[in-house]
Symmetry: C2
Subunit: 297 residues, 2 copies
């Protein structure tokens, strides 16, 4: 694959509290704001508390999930008196960090998330993005545990760190430190990139989202009838084979997996009960990425 | 210690959802209600969803912590239009399960809780209570992991199971199964007791609450400046010695423990941030308990 030259990454935004009860990012952003981190070497840093009301209430969101509000449709619709708080916040963030696709937009937005799933440190991004992939490769070389997957959708970030397991509303120092370390490496990478270093390309393993599996539910009440099986719990990114147990009903029966071999992730994520997702399934793939360096002016 | 004869335990209440986001008990009570468990051998079983609105909202409580509402002062005060929901619920539960100290009261109330702390299965009770202690001894003999401590205060239960670690709003099958198994053994014990079996006394280890430690906070804003140190995280019921790290500040400094050797528990419990408790400290003690059997009619 050929070499790719890309513009310098002068403006980096670091966002916490996009989900108000995912506390690692909340506290990292608070600490950076307290220490007035606004510039690191060649990079201007913008720190953002994405959903301050939800942070205050220690809830994922007040009215609707902010991290599903960054669609073109939502961002181009007018704001009225009845617009939900998070939709208004999405407009504000788009103005502050974007507008998406504009000249003034941030060059890199890193959004900080936690999960109750045992996912370690994941780099998430929405489209094939050489910068994110190189940052991921850089983190892997530094022995941070980093599965990665490619998600879809209408999210705030160009890159996100998703770190777990951590309960909502709790800060664990191990998870905080892991996220902080990843963020420091990200900033290092951007500085090295801006300084003219060429980052070699090559192959990187990644997980590509394939589908979601819901919990078994009572057809009348829609309530759960089963939960994640103990043999699947905490087994994110470990190959799931047909016949493996996936659910255990409240009355004690095991439900087995039927389908092709895939990799589960976001297993038993708290916020996904309401989204009817017990876990996601992904394919493992090898991505070949080009070498990258900064464009000459 | 002498032998103690006690009345039969005919009426047992099993309560879940006293805190609405602690889901093991919520689902155990739902399953028992679905299966219409109302009698097991000699015992009449009452299952109670203690705080249904908080369960519905998946919150600890709506207005005030239900499990701090069972004081004589609160239970004897009149209910008015402005009485908080949980206080009204406490009056209702007291009428349904009590009144406390009356002839019609339940003989045993077992309240089901989860914690984000790594406490395994704990039996909690508020005053020295031979029944609870014998159930605890019985569970220990069955190789369930059961530290125990003696708490204070104005809680719903005569006996509670506190099982963790489990995030709020999540059901983990391992934690659900551990709680269910403990509950099955409790019911077995009560049946054996009612049938006339004598349970031998002896010595049992227990932890007695001594004091609570708050997080370091900013004196101006009252916000946290540090979190539980990685070396203390998940170390519930492991002896804490002077000089051991207890907190890690967001800027990276370690705070060490000063004080006498004690046993930490409820380390990094989600709900205790607002109560200004980073962890509790307990003394380990040996309690000598009498043999018990049911009174002859």
């Amino acid at each position: 694959m050929e070499h790719v030259s890309l513009p310098a990454l002068s403006r980096v935004a670091i966002c916490g509290g996009t989900h108000g009860n995912e506390l690692s990012g909340v506290w990292i952003v608070r600490e950076m704001q307290k220490q007035q981190v606004e510039k690191v070497g060649s990079i201007s840093i913008t720190t953002v508390m994405s959903n301050p009301r939800a942070v205050e209430a220690c809830k994922r969101y007040m009215e609707t999930d902010l991290n599903r509000c960054f669609t073109d449709a939502i961002l181009s619709a007018p704001v009225t008196d009845v617009t939900p708080y998070e939709v208004r916040r999405a407009h504000e963030l788009n103005a502050q960090l974007g507008p998406k696709g504009s000249q003034e937009a941030m060059d890199l937005v890193c959004d900080l998330h936690n999960t109750t799933a045992n996912m370690g440190l994941c780099v998430i991004f929405t489209t094939f993005n050489w910068i994110s992939l190189h940052i991921y490769k850089y983190l892997k070389a530094r022995a941070l545990c980093v599965p990665e997957f490619v998600s879809e959708l209408f999210l705030l970030f160009s890159t996100a760190f998703e770190v777990g397991p951590q309960p909502n509303g709790v800060v664990r120092a191990d998870i905080y430190n892991l996220m902080k370390e990843a963020l420091d490496h990200l900033v290092d990478w951007v500085q090295e990139f801006n300084s003219g270093i060429t980052f070699e390309g090559g192959e990187v393993e990644a997980y590509v989202f394939e589908k979601s599996i819901d919990y078994p539910r009572d057809p009348d009440t829609n309530e759960l009838t089963a939960i994640i099986h103990p043999q699947l719990q905490d087994k994110d990114f470990i190959l799931l084979k047909p016949g493996d147990p996936i659910f255990l009903s409240f009355s004690g029966e095991t439900v087995k997996y039927e389908g092709k071999e895939l990799y589960p992730f976001f297993v038993n994520e708290c916020a996904y009960y309401e989204k009817h997702i017990a876990f996601h399934l992904a394919q493992k793939t090898i991505l070949t990425i080009p070498s990258v360096s900064v464009e000459n002016d």
